[in-house]
């Protein structure tokens, strides 16, 4: 699996928690959660056991570790030292959820722009010109119907997609 280092915000998305929960849990457990996708797989389960079942963090961590060290689609592990209580986890579902959250974290969870939010533009045309935007292109686009604009986008996106695939194929040779 990709060993990209996740930011705090991305780790929170992967865990299905808030960044505050991540920070508090790290402080209470006296550890730093791993930030690579393959190692972060247990943080979401820890959060779920702690938040949904109200288990103490340290017990939740022990159970999460035990569960994830087993193989198979479901995992039943002793939840208490007495052995009287077993906890069953649908590992296939959990891993599916983790993969969906990881994708979201990687695709949408990048860093946010720092600083104050950008104010609404007062001179939008001047600002666009300053950004190098071709107003002629925009005016041409506005002369088209939405159907024509979207047909053009579809064709352009397909063209760019085909170019990327061709480049990837050339790179793999």
């Amino acid at each position: 699996m990709d060993q990209t280092r996740l930011s705090l915000g991305q780790l929170a998305i992967v865990a299905g928690s808030s960044t505050k929960w991540i920070k508090n849990a790290e402080m209470l457990l006296g550890i730093s959660f791993p930030r690579t996708p393959s190692e972060a797989v247990g943080v979401g389960l820890l959060h779920e056991l702690h938040s949904e079942l109200d288990l103490p963090l340290s017990l939740a961590r022990d159970i999460a570790n035990k569960v994830l060290s087993t193989s198979g689609r479901t995992s039943g592990v002793p939840a208490l030292a007495s052995g009287n209580v077993r906890l069953f986890v649908d590992l296939n579902r959990y891993r599916s959820t983790f993969n969906a959250r990881l994708s979201r974290a990687l695709v949408l969870g990048g860093p946010k722009r720092r600083g104050r939010p950008r104010a609404a533009a007062s001179g939008a045309i001047a600002a666009a010109l300053a950004h190098g935007i071709d107003l002629g292109l925009l005016r041409d686009s506005l002369r088209l119907s939405p159907a024509e604009r979207l047909a053009r986008l579809d064709a352009n996106a397909a063209f760019v997609g085909a170019l990327s695939e061709s480049r990837a194929r050339a790179g793999s040779k």
Binding site: M1, D2, G16, P37, N92, R93, R95, S96, T97, N99, A100, R101, L102, S103, R104, L106, V107, L108, G110, P111, K112, R113, P117, R118, A120, A121, A124, I125, A127, A128, A130, H131, I133, D134, L135, L137, L138, R139, S141, L142, L144, S145, P146, A147, R149, L150, A151, R152, L153, D154, N156, A157, A158, V160, G161
Partner: protein, 160 residues
């Protein structure tokens, strides 16, 4: 890959949705090319079931992660993970239950307008709401699109 085939497929399955993001921006006149379709969907149980059923035909898989890992496409997945970033046989598709800066599906629907394209009628987020969403999202790539969207709004105001 075709945005049209995704939109037509969703309509055929009676999925309630609003197109947001770059494709909605293009419908309003943006010249920026996007390679994924962003859709805000109604989170009702029936709609999510219809959506999951349609997506299963398109071999969905979380985008950007290693191939071959477990991924279940059903209504439960939408309840656990309401924002999904998928690759499908029809192209990349992002599914969201709410839009930052606009609100939940009801708010998104309220701030949408009907367009006719891809031989279909469907709804896209208004230009004004798109600008609010891009501003609220706050990522560099969203900010980079703001000057063009705001210029489009100003040009449209000049035409009126």
């Amino acid at each position: 890959m075709s945005f049209g085939s995704i939109v037509r497929g969703l309509i055929k399955s009676n999925v309630e949705f609003v197109v947001v993001g770059g494709v909605a921006a293009a419908a309003h006149g943006s010249t920026i090319i996007t390679n994924d379709l962003d859709v805000c969907y109604s989170p009702t149980d029936e709609n999510v079931k219809r959506l999951a059923s349609r997506l299963r035909r398109w071999r969905p898989y979380p985008r950007g992660i290693e191939k071959g890992l477990p991924f279940i496409m059903d209504a439960k997945t939408f309840h656990i993970t309401p924002i999904l970033t998928l690759s499908t046989s029809q192209g990349p598709l992002d599914l969201l239950d709410r839009i930052e800066g606009v609100g939940d599906y009801a708010a998104v629907l309220k701030q949408s307008e009907s367009v006719e394209a891809f031989d279909s009628h469907f709804r896209v987020l208004t230009l004004r709401a798109l600008i609010a969403a891009k501003r609220a999202a706050g990522r560099p790539k969203d900010y980079a699109q703001l000057p063009e969207l705001e210029a489009l709004e100003a040009l449209l105001a000049q035409k009126r």
